[in-house]
Amino acid sequence: MNSLDKGTAQEGRPDTIKAVPVRHPGRWAGAVVIALLAAMLLSALFTNPAFKWDIVGQYLFHDSIMHGLLVTLELTVLAMLMGVVGGIVLAVMRLSPNPLLAGVAWVYIWIFRGTPVLVQLVFWNFLGLIWAKLSIGVPWGPEFWSQQTNVLIPTFVAALLGLGLNEAAYMAEIVRGGIQSVDEGQAEAAHALGMSRAQTMRRIVLPQAMRVIIPPTGNETISMLKTTSLVSVISLEEIFRAGQVIYSRNYQNIPLLIVVSLWYLFFTSVLTIGQYYVERHYARGSNRTLPPTPLQRLRGLFAGKPAPKTAADVVPGIEGGGHV
């Protein structure tokens, strides 16, 4: 069958088909509409004085914006760190054969996923109203050490607890999914070699679960960067709050919101690009051939090469029709 196909293909090799490609009038019409809308938007952006681009430029690198940006980035990194570490611990607890650990993890996830993160943030901030001071000692007995809650948990710590503990609950479910995606035979093989449950998890299961865990963790990080803006409600001066403080003084609301948005957009873009390459890295081994990166595709476009995919599709189609 195969050799027959090859034979006919060789005989009928000479002429490459020059067919009229399928026309896409809808795409052209759509492109015209989009171009029109884009032009309108751009002209509005540059002609409407309300945007005040000079003020945007003036505040883009303003000291308190820069300071707020730093707080935002610190919060994002630290809260994600708490989230990832906490998530792994909770996921392992939930999958533990110990019903106590599994139960505690379940309740934790239930509470922290079941209430809005905004409410949790305010709660942590008002912890002093519930317990004025926190102490270590014998329950209902003598105290060895105590401290004012407001001193122990300043606003930054309250923000971090609110974001990090909530994130841990979400990460726990992501990690659990990753762990469960690893073939059971892997743990069996490790156990058969005499490895303990903890060794099996750390050395065999978790490294393999990472492939499944990493992409959604990237999403969570991007989401966290933006969620940090919620801590403005407890008056922590991250970038959004910094912008608010400035426009409450000078009433330049729109330009400052643009400044803040530009910074969010810049860092989410950085994270998106990072995520793309991390995912690509982890897809190696499972995908035999990786699709080209956008950069590679651009380079190909400028080199003027035809799309290889269609060419490859066309040729075997002709060979298959060799019986004509």
Partner: protein, 268 residues
């Protein structure tokens, strides 16, 4: 049914010569009884083959030997020690995970689906347990690991990942990985069933070499040729019971029971 599960047709061995002893072993999953009273004895240094149709319980029994499955009834000893339990007076106490893990160090297992660790190279697969479980130094483990890979004919593939190896090569690495723990007993769970026919020979050659060196092996297999040639004892299981047992050459050429005969007529 009990009349079928007759005692082995060979003279009893002294307890000290037994590697595995099963007495009326029962195992069920919920209401489904998979093992319905298994009695058998595996002597030290012998190749013990388990054959039978799928679902007969032979793989389950193999997995009971290193406590990957917990038995529900009867007694199972490996090298004179109860599997999974400790006897105090007339009471059985379950062993802790840690204690079970310690016992598993001495029992190597080879799986039908290889179960190599895909994120580690061949040599790392072999080194993993000696380093993590026995606390060998990496240099020591690497040296022994390379010798083991040499022995299964794969020294040149040491740095390859499992996905870059053929099925037969993966299974030979899996055997080297099990041998790295210097086991006193090797369990093989249909080691060649997932392999392309032309790759089966390499794996069987490695197993034959092991048998010649005197390794005690329990082998669940469909390779009747291997059983006949290398096996010292053979058991035919069906429906969770031992139907027939004895010398492989004798059982395979002159089966005594109708069910054995029916099974062999299909596979031989």
């Amino acid at each position: 049914m009990t009349d079928l599960t007759k005692t082995p047709a060979r003279p009893a061995a002294a307890a000290a010569d037994l590697m595995v002893r099963a007495e009326n072993v029962h195992k069920s999953y919920g209401l489904v009884e998979v093992l319905k009273g298994i009695d058998l004895e595996v002597r030290k240094g012998e190749v013990f083959c388990l054959i039978g149709p799928s679902g007969s319980g032979k793989s389950t029994f193999l997995r009971c030997i290193n406590h990957l499955e917990k038995i529900n009834g009867g007694r199972l000893w490996v090298d004179g020690e109860l599997v999974g339990y400790r006897q105090k007076g007339d009471r059985l106490h379950e062993l802790k995970d840690r204690e079970v893990a310690v016992k598993r160090r001495d029992i190597g297992m080879v799986f039908q689906r290889f179960n190599l660790f895909p994120h580690m190279t061949a040599i790392e697969n072999v080194m993993e347990a000696p380093v993590q479980v026995k606390g060998e130094t990496r240099a020591e483990a690497r040296e022994r690991g390379m010798a083991l890979l040499e022995r299964v004919g794969l020294a040149d593939k040491a740095k390859n990942y499992p996905s870059q190896l053929s099925g037969g090569q993966q299974q030979r690495v899996a055997i080297a990985r099990a041998l790295a723990m210097k086991p006193k007993l090797m369990l093989f769970d249909e080691p060649t069933s997932a392999l392309d026919p032309e790759l089966v020979g390499d794996v069987l050659d490695v197993m034959r070499g092991l048998a010649e060196e005197g390794m005690t092996m329990v082998v669940v297999t469909h390779e009747m040729g291997f059983a006949r040639e290398v096996g010292d004892a053979l058991v035919f299981m069906d429906g969770g019971v031992v139907v027939e047992s004895g010398n492989p050459r004798q059982v395979l050429t002159d089966p005594q029971h109708e069910r054995t005969r029916a099974f062999l007529s299909k596979v031989l």
